[in-house]
């Protein structure tokens, strides 16, 4: 029994934190707030030099041969630093879907570019505000001989403005599966609530689409869901750190507000939500990475808990700061928006709890 990360994995986390504190302070993140299509190409280049994008891919596809589990703490650091790069989308979501579902030829063709950082992939699933998967996927590819074509529009596609490769969930008969679109996708960058991150709609007009070999959206969607949770943990940790730190500095009534139980107990509740969310997210990452029997169930448990409880934590973080967190200048709103966006991305709490109910036979 060993439910914790290895010394090497913690080593990578520490290295990532040092690197990001230096290369990606919030002042750097803020350079991209007003640019709908903007993201940090400089940071991306440096991350590629460190080999981060290559980390979870096998060596024959230009990777470093590490596993999905080696990504978990790194994703947390990217969440903690609000790094304005499409790492989650390209490496931890779309890249993992290709690795899990692609044929040998498809992996060999698509993964080396993702692993080097030269190509950026994004995951396109949703089409409507309450559409997270299942029967809400209404994009039906057409077949012409051996060639498939996609028509229609995917919305809420994270990192779409940065991407040149799309992994798209579409419905064939009564079965959802993944298609890869390398050319012909038209991206419209959109204004995002979380201004540190890009998103947009992606429309296809008879775009050539290559179906990934393994059918169904699972396990790829579970990997992507677990990855989102892992990133949320890092942002939530930072919110708690900031709130505790502020409560020690800020004085009212002649004493630090952190000495009042109203604030202390709020922070203790946040710490408890965070620890439970960590346990759930890390367990899901382990379960989906190792193909455990309860992989699907654990990904729904993790996302339902992280969605609701970390969004609650983020709100409490703002409340704990009082008026200062209501300003644009303070960083708390960036974290609040990061978590609120992640809360609904790939399914909100009620969506995943309904999945739990079905799996456990309710």
């Amino acid at each position: 029994m060993d439910f914790d990360f290895s010394a090497d994995q913690y080593g990578l986390r520490d290295e990532a934190r040092r690197f990001l504190e230096k290369q990606c302070p919030v002042s750097h993140v803020r350079e991209f707030l007003d640019d709908k299509a903007g993201w940090s190409r400089d940071l991306w280049k440096q991350m590629a030099d460190l080999g981060w994008m290559a980390l979870p891919f096998p060596e024959q596809y230009g990777g470093l041969g590490q596993s999905f589990l080696d990504l978990v703490l790194l994703l947390g650091e990217l969440g903690r630093s609000l790094a304005p790069v499409p790492f989650l989308s390209s490496v931890a979501m779309a890249g993992q879907v290709i690795l899990a579902h692609g044929s040998e030829e498809q992996r060999a063709r698509l993964l080396p570019g993702i692993a080097s950082g030269d190509r950026i992939a994004a995951l396109a699933v949703s089409e409507q505000p309450q559409g997270f998967g299942g029967t809400s996927i209404d994009m039906h590819p057409t077949q012409d001989g051996d060639t498939w074509h996609l028509n229609g529009e995917k919305k809420y596609v994270l990192d779409a403005p940065a991407a040149d490769l799309f992994v798209v969930a579409a419905c064939v008969g009564d079965q959802n599966r993944w298609f890869v679109v390398e050319e012909g996708a038209r991206v419209t960058p959109q204004t995002t609530y979380d201004p540190t991150r890009g998103a947009g709609s992606v429309s296809f007009d008879d775009a050539v689409a290559d179906p990934l070999e393994a059918p169904f959206l699972f396990p790829g969607l579970q990997l992507a869901t677990a990855a989102v949770c892992a990133e949320m943990i890092g942002a939530a940790e930072k919110i708690l750190d900031m709130t505790v730190e502020y409560s020690k500095q800020r004085e009212q009534f002649g004493r630090p507000i952190g000495s009042f139980q109203a604030i202390k107990h709020k922070c203790a509740e946040m710490a408890t939500e965070l620890e439970a969310a960590r346990a759930a997210a890390y367990y899901a990452c382990w379960a989906v990475a190792s193909g455990a029997e309860d992989a699907a169930l654990s990904s729904h448990i993790a996302k339902s808990y992280c969605s609701d409880q970390l969004a609650h934590l983020a709100g409490e973080g703002v409340q704990g700061h009082g008026g200062i967190a209501f300003t644009w200048e303070h960083d708390m709103h960036l974290y609040l928006k990061r978590i609120k966006t992640a809360q609904v991305f790939l399914g909100d709490g009620p969506y995943h709890r309904e999945r739990i109910a079905r799996i456990v036979g309710l």
Binding site: M1, A268, A271, T272, A280, A357
Partner: protein
Amino acid sequence: MDLAFSPEETAFRHEISAWIRDNLPAGWGTPEFKEPKTFEERLEFSRAWEKRLAEAGWAGISWPKDYGGRGTTLMDQIIFHEEMAAARAPQIFINFVGINLAGPTIMAHGSEQQKKRYLPKILDMSEVWCQGFSEPNAGSDLANVQTKAVLDGDNFIVNGQKIWTSFAHVADWCLLLCRTDSSVAKHKGLSYLLVDMHSAGIEPRPLKQITGEAEFDEVFFTDVRVPRAQLLGEMNMGWTYANTTLANERGPAFLAHQIRFRNSLNDLFDSAKRTMRDGVPVAEHPAFRDRLARAYAEVEIMRYIGYRLVTSILRNGRPGVEGSIAKLYWSEMVRRFQETSIAIAGLGGMLDDEDGFDGGKWNRGFSMSFAQTIAAGSSEIQKNIISERVLGMPRGEVWAPKPKEKV
């Protein structure tokens, strides 16, 4: 990160599950089984069951070999508790304090003579222990213990009152936290005494609790003479020792509790599927369905938290700061779970016992759930501990009444 069990651990799991299957009380778990109802019946039942466990050597599974225990690894202890829970075996009742609280505290701080005298009789169940900690004015503020032990020649003379003492009227011995020095700061003047419950001047009075049962006693001590040799460890070190005892209140059993909750949850799911509202099972009504799925997620997360606790003990030799966080998470989870269960019972929850929904078990569970957020350090105390010791937030000012103004 690897959550798999080793082949040896799996073999041990088979061994213990076979033993449980062969040794459960006759008829246990079948609808015909007559559950013990009164405290006396439960006592008699648990004495027989725990005696059987003791004879097979399972009672001391967590105790070192030097003290007659099995000296098993933490993982084997966890597996043992998990299998007991999975088989829905009766929980340790009468010998709980002896095995989990008194025994480990004596091992840690007692003299060789005390260890020889007391430990074997805990293991073979010939002596029952109770724990004298809480008092009417020492609950969350445990260090405020007022029961006094004054040295008079070779004896301490003990006066005071304890409350929430489980098994006091059937116990042979009491692990008593009492004040031996009133002139110093409150947590510096406490000592531990091993008190013979058959001594003159001890009067336990059963305390009828929220469920109508009497699991606890109030205990009154009036001029009770306790030989000086019954002092555990050093004088005025009681607060430090008490923390050993409290650390043992939670442990490998955490994961077993989780399994018992999952059993309970499965029962609740069954009830929700056969209880109709507007012609449809409540399990299919979105509002209930969401609450039931949430309960499932929260109970599963308790298992993951348990794995993190165990890993921390295996890697560092002791549970980390996660202990208080786990306690808070679990206690609050139980309260929500029981709220959900009694909501499923609906109007059935208006009635109790044999007239009640599922024999009144959700009513009992609901009432009992308040014990989780009050006992063994209330949720508010856990939040103080987490905020001060985990998050490093400042302690609040000590409240003091304003001096009265002179007229």
